[in-house]
């Protein structure tokens, strides 16, 4: 990963772990790495995709990277750039495998342009995603936003400011109510609970 503008790999990881606006800025910096984006696009193009697919994989890779860093799955044993590239490559190969319903992807050339650390990528089924999105719809936009900010380590002061609560205490109360409400939604529907457990 390029380390201009004062960023180092360590500070990027630390900022994502810190959450809040620091995470946002770090992700934007990673997104701006045009060399890496082009590498991903080239890989996808070489493997039966197009530029749009490549761009899409770069985005999906950043989403997985963000989550893996926040969940402590990125251990810093490989350069961040190589790790992200591995994720993108893995995601694309998996998509191709699903689309072709054959093993041809296993025969695809694997270019070793950078050192990589095996990425841990958890695939969430479409069914599970649909269930989770339905829950989010039911809990409502404002609650969804509060809980999202809370999970991303925004302080209650920041949440109050962003969502126009009169104080951090009010934001905390709202977060509590929203979380209870979401948990009840999970619990009330056995089919949803079952899907989430799978």
């Amino acid at each position: 990963m390029k380390t201009n503008q004062g960023w180092t790999e360590q500070s990027l990881v630390a900022s994502i772990l810190q959450g809040g606006n620091a995470r946002q800025t770090a992700i934007r910096f990673i997104y701006e790495d045009k060399d890496l984006r082009q590498m991903v696009i080239r890989f996808v193009n070489k493997n039966r995709g197009n530029d749009e697919d490549g761009q899409d994989m770069f985005h999906e890779g950043i989403i997985v990277l963000d989550r893996n860093i926040r969940e402590g799955k990125f251990r810093g044993e490989a350069p961040l750039k190589g790790y992200l590239y591995s994720i993108c490559r893995f995601l694309w190969m998996n998509r191709m495998r699903k689309q072709s319903h054959t093993d041809t992807v296993a025969e695809m050339p694997v270019t070793a342009e950078v050192d990589t650390e095996s990425p841990e990528v958890i695939f969430v089924s479409e069914e599970r995603k649909a269930v989770l999105n339905r829950l989010l719809d039911e809990v409502g936009e404002r609650c969804r936003k509060i809980l999202e900010l809370w999970k991303l380590s925004y302080s209650m002061e920041e949440i109050a400011e962003k969502l126009d609560f009169s104080s951090a205490a009010m934001a905390r109360k709202a977060k509590y109510r929203c979380h209870i409400s979401l948990m009840e939604l999970v619990q009330k529907n056995p089919a949803l609970a079952q899907t989430l457990q799978n």
């Binding site: 039966r48 989403i63 699903k98 689309q99 509590y176 979380h179 948990m183």
Partner: protein
């Protein structure tokens, strides 16, 4: 479930904010208390949903940044071209000022026609190229046959094909999206709206926003822009900075509010 009773304890436990003794006591309670175990399962489910929300939001942001990048490129070249054109036009405009005053009202009425429902729909709507939109190898794609019929204008065959895609299929949203376009071509607006809604509800990031935008266009084609559901959806998209069609929605709001629409 008694979430209110346990949530704070669960958070303290998961955040590592309990002492060793408290932790051991809590773990013993988990073993013994079925209600607490249920609550913890619900808490896990809630975290999974929040994580999904974070993913959705980040995906919107990345798409929005990409759209900004794309828009920035041609804008730079357009602006320099515009300066030259504007200088030339300024002289012409000065010469034509008196004529414009005379024909002002006539012009206003004419431009108002460009804001009619028909004109707005025609300016915004484009029938998708179904095969080009398929990911990966178009020849082996599960929707290939339907997409080929769609692109060939054989909507009857395409409709029959896409209607057979079951709801649990991973390409269901794309099938519904194309079915909605077929209904729109047939001017069956109610069916088009209902089908676009089904495509939207799947929350497939590649389909959902396109389907929402085309729902709006269907309301325009059906001359139903006075409906609250249309206005609310338009306001929602226009107010969502991460939505791929946010800028178009803002522009559409301005066009719909233009007083010249009333001159038609």
């Amino acid at each position: 479930m008694n979430a209110e009773r346990y949530i704070e304890k669960i958070e303290q436990y998961l955040e590592g904010e309990m002492s060793q003794a408290e932790r051991a006591a809590f773990e013993a309670e988990i073993d013994e208390n079925a209600e607490l175990r249920q609550t913890m399962a619900a808490y896990d489910g809630s975290l999974a949903a929040i994580e999904q929300s974070i993913e959705n939001t980040l995906r919107h942001e990345l798409q929005s940044w990409a759209a900004e990048d794309k828009a920035a490129q041609p804008a730079a070249s357009r602006s320099s071209a515009k300066i030259v054109t504007m200088r030339t036009l300024a002289l012409r405009w000065a010469a034509a000022a008196s004529i414009l005053l005379v024909i002002g009202w006539f012009t206003m009425v004419q431009t108002g026609k460009g804001l009619s429902d028909e004109a707005l729909f025609a300016a915004q709507y484009a029938l998708p190229q179904a095969q080009a939109a398929l990911r990966g190898d178009a020849a082996t794609h599960p929707l290939a046959a339907g997409a080929a019929a769609f692109d060939a204008g054989d909507f009857q065959t395409a409709q029959t094909f896409f209607e057979q895609i079951p709801t649990q299929d991973e390409y269901y949203a794309e099938a519904q999206y194309l079915l909605a376009h077929i209904a729109l071509q047939q001017k069956d607006y109610d069916r088009a709206i209902a089908t676009f809604n089904r495509a939207t509800e799947r929350r497939d990031p590649k389909v959902s926003e396109k389907a929402e935008w085309n729902t709006l266009l269907t309301y325009i084609a059906a001359k139903r822009t006075d409906k609250a559901i249309f206005k609310n959806l338009l306001a929602k998209i226009a107010g969502d900075a991460g939505h791929s069609y946010q800028q178009q929605a803002v522009a559409l709001q301005k066009q719909l509010a233009d007083f010249r629409r009333k001159l038609q």
